[in-house]
């Protein structure tokens, strides 16, 4: 069974953040710089939202306005769903697919220690299943030899 902490061990704990009063322009530039699809929105040391490319593009489609000078606060998604390091990857997959989230921040107590994406989750699940398959195949091969 794989856990959120296993993903964080591999990908590191860096999290890209932005303040709620930053402009949408600044947020989009930060995403492009970091090659990220979303930023965690932090006020003081509280997580107040997530802002993604999709949040932005959907808003433009709705309002017909580029809105680059608006504060992130106006467009971000909240409340935010979190994961804990000791949660299984499968649980995260369920939450993400049911609610159509591409990202989950990871918290210990109230502290942000990382973020996992649907890509991370999927990679981990595929690995896990491949290991199970190899294990079962080895079991069958090993037992056949003994017979």
């Amino acid at each position: 069974m794989s856990y959120v902490k296993n993903i964080l061990e591999r990908k590191g704990k860096s999290v890209w953040t932005i303040a709620p009063d930053a402009t949408v322009r600044a947020a989009l530039i930060e995403m492009a710089d970091k090659g990220a699809g979303a930023l965690v929105v932090i006020e003081g040391d509280q997580i107040v939202g997530i802002f993604s490319e999709r949040d932005y593009v959907r808003r433009v489609a709705k309002t017909d306005d580029l809105g680059l000078d608006q504060p992130v606060r106006e467009l971000m998604s909240h409340p935010v769903f979190f994961a804990r390091p000791d949660q299984t990857v499968e649980e995260c997959m369920r939450v993400m697919t049911a609610r159509h989230f591409r990202h989950l921040p990871v918290l210990v107590e109230d502290e942000l220690v990382g973020i996992i994406s649907i890509g991370d989750v999927v990679k981990s699940l595929i690995n896990e299943k491949e290991m199970t398959i190899r294990g079962l195949e080895n079991f069958i091969a090993g037992s056949s030899v003994n017979h």
Binding site: L28, R54, V57, V60, A61, L66, L125, I126, K129
Partner: protein, 145 residues
């Protein structure tokens, strides 16, 4: 081994598209209305590009004068990789992860018959592996216990 055909059978063959002259406004509205992250750009029957949420979000910050009245061709990605219904899902996954594409058009002859996303591919791979695990477990139950 699952192929692109299996994915299309599940998700249907509805293809949403725009033309190179469609305005950005209309392309973004189409994506929002259909809840999709990208649409194919067709010139007649030819696929000339793909435009995604990301293409737009990246472009809008480098050209501040970008207007929603501009045509899709100014923002679309025009080098497009595509697949046929016979490609395996693993081949698609490799193409998508090495080239960093989230979407691949599916072509038969000259015609586009679908667009598959990384989400579609992943779902298919996971369920394929689940079936493999089940059949190995069945084999063990029947033959070895």
């Amino acid at each position: 081994m699952s192929t692109v055909k299996d994915i299309l059978m599940q998700k249907g063959q509805q293809v949403w598209y725009v033309t190179p002259e469609t305005t950005l406004r209309d392309a973004l509205k189409l994506m929002a209305a259909k809840n999709i992250g990208a649409v194919i750009v067709l010139d007649g029957h030819d696929v000339v590009g793909i435009i995604s949420e990301r293409d737009y979000a990246r472009k809008v910050i480098t050209s501040e004068s970008l207007s929603l009245d501009e045509p899709v061709r100014t923002v679309m990605t025009s080098s497009v990789y595509y697949v046929t219904p016979e490609h395996t899902v693993e081949e698609c996954m490799n193409l998508m992860t090495t080239k960093h594409f989230r979407h691949l058009p599916v072509i038969v002859g000259q015609d586009v018959i679908g667009l598959i996303s990384i989400g579609d591919v992943v779902k298919q791979i996971l369920s394929e592996k689940d079936r493999e695990i089940e059949s190995l477990e069945d084999y063990i139950w029947v033959n070895m216990i």
